[in-house]
């Protein structure tokens, strides 16, 4: 089966999803071509096991993000079944490539099997859909749902000069309010909700976050009521996250919050109400106030 993987980079290196995409392609029985937008991380892509070749597409249009321009420049290299990451940019480029080729796209797959059969969550995780696709299609894969391919290979790299007309022009950059790690990039997230009492108390969560390299997230209640940045919000109208560890502190576990975090690998809940719905999804629940539990957490982590 001919499979093309669209690499995703962050800065000058590859995003870990790229190696997961290759792993998924190999499991389907393909030895994929990896297309690298703008060429960032092409050398690294060539070392992923199972890659048949790397196509580094370079052009002016890759200096800022315009999904339409990127798709125009990349589509000629995207043959057969196309796999991309279900990241914000990945979803957009993938949708546009599918429309350009006139083939269907299925987003956010969590499992694939021969044929191709696709499993993916729908209704924000309240149900699961399995579908089968005939012919070529574009599929985006959820981060951390597929095993990464190992490294050690040395695939050839072709460099293709291909730009496209850019129609989205950057006018002004607005800096982040804080330099903290973003929830969509973190492998560990500690989130606070209304039970934290007031915005200032988030500093306690930040201290824990700094000890374990975690990002700090929030429920919608505190984003709306305490004016915290929306970029911190996890849930239906915030971010969908799948870290290895999600620690929910003073969050009740409303269905819209669960929609954004229930597929985290491990969930810890700290809540003073033993009947809080968050305990229904927690692997480890701690019935306690945060005032008692957070200092204990800090000393236990310090003792590791």
């Amino acid at each position: 089966m001919e499979i093309t993987v669209i690499a995703e980079s962050s800065g000058n290196s590859l995003h870990p999803i790229t190696s997961q995409l290759v792993g998924a392609a190999c499991a389907l029985g393909g030895s994929p071509t990896v297309v690298v937008p703008g060429g960032n991380g092409a050398n690294e892509a060539a070392t992923i096991n199972g890659v048949s070749k790397v196509v580094s597409v370079v052009g002016d249009c890759f200096s800022s993000f315009d999904g339409g321009a990127w798709a125009s420049a990349l589509t000629p290299q995207c043959n057969g079944v196309v796999l991309a990451g279900a990241t914000p940019n990945g979803r957009e480029i993938a949708a546009r490539i599918a429309a350009k080729r006139g083939i269907a796209i299925v987003q956010d797959a969590t499992a694939l099997s021969g044929g191709i059969n696709i499993t993916r969550p729908i209704y924000s995780g309240k149900a699961v859909e399995t579908s089968s696709v005939s012919g070529d299609c574009v599929i985006t894969l959820r981060a951390n749902a597929f095993d990464a391919a190992g490294s050690g290979g040395s695939a050839p790299i072709n460099i293709v000069d291909q730009s496209a007309d850019v129609s989205v022009a950057i006018k002004e950059a607005i800096a982040k309010a804080s330099e903290r790690l973003d929830v969509s990039e973190a492998d560990i997230i500690i989130s606070g909700g209304r039970g934290i009492g007031e915005r200032e108390n988030f500093s306690h969560l930040e201290e824990v976050a700094d000890m374990i390299g975690a990002a700090v997230g929030a429920s919608r209640a505190v984003v709306d009521e305490w004016g915290m940045p929306h970029s911190m919000q996890v849930g239906q109208t915030g971010k969908t996250v799948t870290p290895s560890l999600y620690i929910a502190v003073g969050i009740s576990g409303a269905i819209q919050h669960l929609a954004g975090m229930r597929s985290s690998k491990y969930i810890v809940a700290i809540n003073k109400d033993p009947d809080a719905p968050i305990f229904g999804v927690a692997d480890y629940g701690i019935v306690s106030t945060w005032e008692d539990a957070i200092p204990a957490l800090k000393s236990a982590l310090a003792a590791l």
């Binding site: 949708a95 987003q107 701690i286």
Partner: protein, 253 residues
């Protein structure tokens, strides 16, 4: 100028989703609502309309129940209502949905499209960029704000460094993330006017779209896999135990 807003009717986010006979049981959905991000798109489009940019056409594709959604949009200020009538919207693949919506947008003459970043049922995020591709339009996704700027538009979207403002000219599509303001509530006058507003009902044939067959076949819907029940501990004294389990059982710290 005409602004088209694509609005999808979905089960309310509080609604329970049940599965029967391998399919999500739509009949059991207690409440249907406008998809949350579409509300932000609509509110932002209303504000743009009020700034004098143009009139607003609300477009939905789906079965008969979706007319209610169009009336809700009219009650807050949509000028024209378009219902692309499709009985089983869930069985269409992305190319079919996009072909219908793009054809409907073209037929209204709109050259600016507002939609949600992803619908609350499909959770896909394919429609905005796909429709843009068909219309040969620019697309900006994850937008929180759009304003007009001379002949073009300025949109705010996230960037690696925080946020950025980008400029685009029509034709263009904006796929909304959470916007700056919640959707306004309709007033009584709006609700009364909306009842009388005509709805243009268009079929695929009216739009000149040959749907063909879906290339994606839904094999089954199922409830999410049950997680094994977690372990629950009483009191802050249990924290060290949990931390060592996170290290030794789960291997995550």
């Amino acid at each position: 100028m005409t602004i088209a807003v694509l609005l999808k009717q979905v089960p309310d986010t509080t609604a329970k989703i049940s599965v029967s006979g391998n399919r999500v049981d739509e009949g059991a959905v207690a409440k249907w609502s406008m998809s949350p991000y579409d509300e932000y798109a609509l509110e932002s489009a209303l504000q743009l309309k009020e700034s004098g940019v143009g009139d607003l056409v609300a477009i939905t594709a789906g079965p008969a129940r979706c007319e209610k959604l169009l009336r809700d949009a009219a009650a807050v200020g949509a000028d024209t209502l378009v219902h692309v009538s499709v009985d089983n919207i869930g069985a269409l693949d992305s190319t079919q949905v996009q072909a219908l919506l793009a054809a409907a947008v073209s037929k209204t003459g709109a050259n600016v499209v507002f939609c949600g970043k992803q619908a609350a049922d499909t959770n896909s995020g394919s429609t905005g960029p796909g429709v843009a591709e068909i219309l040969n339009a620019a697309c900006v996704t994850l937008v929180s704000e759009v304003s007009s700027d001379g002949g073009g538009f300025i949109a705010t979207r996230p960037s690696a460094a925080g946020q950025e403002k980008v400029g685009v000219n029509s034709p263009c599509v904006f796929a909304f993330d959470k916007g700056l303001t919640e959707m306004r509530r309709p007033n009584v006058r709006g609700i009364m006017m909306a009842k009388k507003k005509p709805v243009d009902v268009w079929s695929a044939t009216d739009l000149g779209v040959d749907l063909g067959a879906s290339t994606v076949t839904i094999e089954a819907h199922s409830p999410p896999a049950e997680k094994p029940p977690g372990q629950k501990f009483e009191g802050a004294d249990s924290v060290p135990t949990v931390v060592s389990k996170l290290r030794d059982e789960a291997n995550v710290i």
